[in-house]
Symmetry: C2
Subunit: 345 residues, 2 copies
Amino acid sequence: MRANGRPFKARIGANESSFGPSPKAVEAMCVAAPEVWMYGDSECHDLRLALAAHHGVTPAHISVGEGIDGLLGLLVRMMVAPGDPVVTSDGAYPTFNYHVAGFGGVLHKVPYRDDHEDPGALLVRAEEVGAKLLYFCNPDNPMGTWHSARVVERMVKALPDATLLVLDEAYIDAAPAGTAPDINPDNPSVIRMRTFSKLYGLAGLRVGYAIGAPELIAMFDRIRNHFGMGRIAQAGALAALHDQGWLTHVQTELAAAKARIGQIAAQNGLYALPSATSFVALDTGRDGAFAKALVDALMARDVFVRMPFVAPQNRCIRVSAGPQAAMDAFESALPSALAEISGKS
Amino acid sequence: MRANGRPFKARIGANESSFGPSPKAVEAMCVAAPEVWMYGDSECHDLRLALAAHHGVTPAHISVGEGIDGLLGLLVRMMVAPGDPVVTSDGAYPTFNYHVAGFGGVLHKVPYRDDHEDPGALLVRAEEVGAKLLYFCNPDNPMGTWHSARVVERMVKALPDATLLVLDEAYIDAAPAGTAPDINPDNPSVIRMRTFSKLYGLAGLRVGYAIGAPELIAMFDRIRNHFGMGRIAQAGALAALHDQGWLTHVQTELAAAKARIGQIAAQNGLYALPSATSFVALDTGRDGAFAKALVDALMARDVFVRMPFVAPQNRCIRVSAGPQAAMDAFESALPSALAEISGKS
């Protein structure tokens, strides 16, 4: 936005929830603001208690951190020594890869299959290389596709002994029923990552959490910043969690916006991939260069979208669902953006 | 506080500024709250620009992080490999030690001298062991004592070639003129740490920053969490920085409160060490067990103070300056707390 020099008409590129946070969360943050001279609770006691109740686990199963990004950094530090093998999908979350590289791990990447992460191939690779971590994002970013709970549950059962499954469920609240697997929270082979950044609309607050076996969760306490979670962050997340009505509202709005993105795509000859997330990947039917030109042409029209960065997924653009004005701006910009780059090519 | 089951009458143990944050910072945070669905600027552009202007350096000299704690963690990760020697004072900031231990560094501790960190001995030890980092907090926590700018400048000149000086200036805004050294910001041998947690009254917001040579500062970008600094955090810190009038107000209040702590101490037979920070170390004239009993007796009276944890500094208790009500509560609780533990001993 700064590079552009003017505000976007539609900020639908970073999978933020432009439906906004719960008004109750906003109120809680404003109430906390004058009290911010005090450190936040170093144990995130109230938030962990509420999260535990929400998920039917104990607070000992939950570690709160500075977004999933922060938790992934701590997890990689804990589990990956220089030279250790780690498995992910080729084109999945770059921040995970960034942390693995940062701590000297060796990444092994498995191709997507039909625009889905490929559980079978991921497991085979994890076994082959003796992976310390296997990263799996369900529903997936950047494609929006997903696997059913049953598939994930089978994956958990088939994990190699040496491998910890990092199940990134940042978008799970946007997924259909039957997507979140039933996993024994005491299972030491899986850690689930959740966030307030997506459907809860609190990306700029930096609050995520991990759910896992208590002995694994306790390891975070040995390396995390003791007072890392701020006071406003804890207050905002707690109020957001308590306002499940807002989450339902956002889910309803999301579904409508995603349907509209699909219609806009179809009107313009693009194919909308099915999505269980807060965004839709639109297949241009061309290649990465074409999709990049389309992203740039939309940006020139003050519509901010992004795209996958690995072939063949990078034939798509990725459009976050947003309120009507954002969808209107996208609808209005897309035809001329397409015309411009088709004329060029 | 949770363990106690009721609010403190005086929360003067964690060196938080109970004078509170700038009302303009509070307003900025509330304005930012509804916009927190957006990630914060990954480069902290506006805040770094303002900090650069404030310090007469360029934005390339500044890295913003999740408090000094977060920055120290990144710095240790960057500079300290397992087995590498690091020098600090025995009884200085435990979070620095925590990070060094966490990354496998070997701590070498130098005793305080007359309740001051000992620059000469620190330098000798750094030379002897070939320290990668030399941590020096000026003014000092937990004793409140300080060295003049001239001493620190001589320290910088005398640093061993292999050693980076970590100059923690968390309390510098409470220090008398002539305490902050004049250091060439391009000097690659020093990194200064500053924070919004202390006099700016934003401990629960988690914003600190490092000032150093651009090539050193750029290293943070290679390992930090890209979106680690939240939107409200950046807005609050920026507004606080711009409200230097509030800082002046807090400095005035602080000075008065510290003088009052000295009076209360004297009335009760305790000796107040000179302080260039936002707290005062009070010498009980006894030992660590006595000081611990006093801390506990004050806590039982809902007055939260802390103490140094290494002998002989742990003969003191550490009392943060606060507004009148907090000082009243301390004045009221201290005589009976002392009477109780003196009766016991």
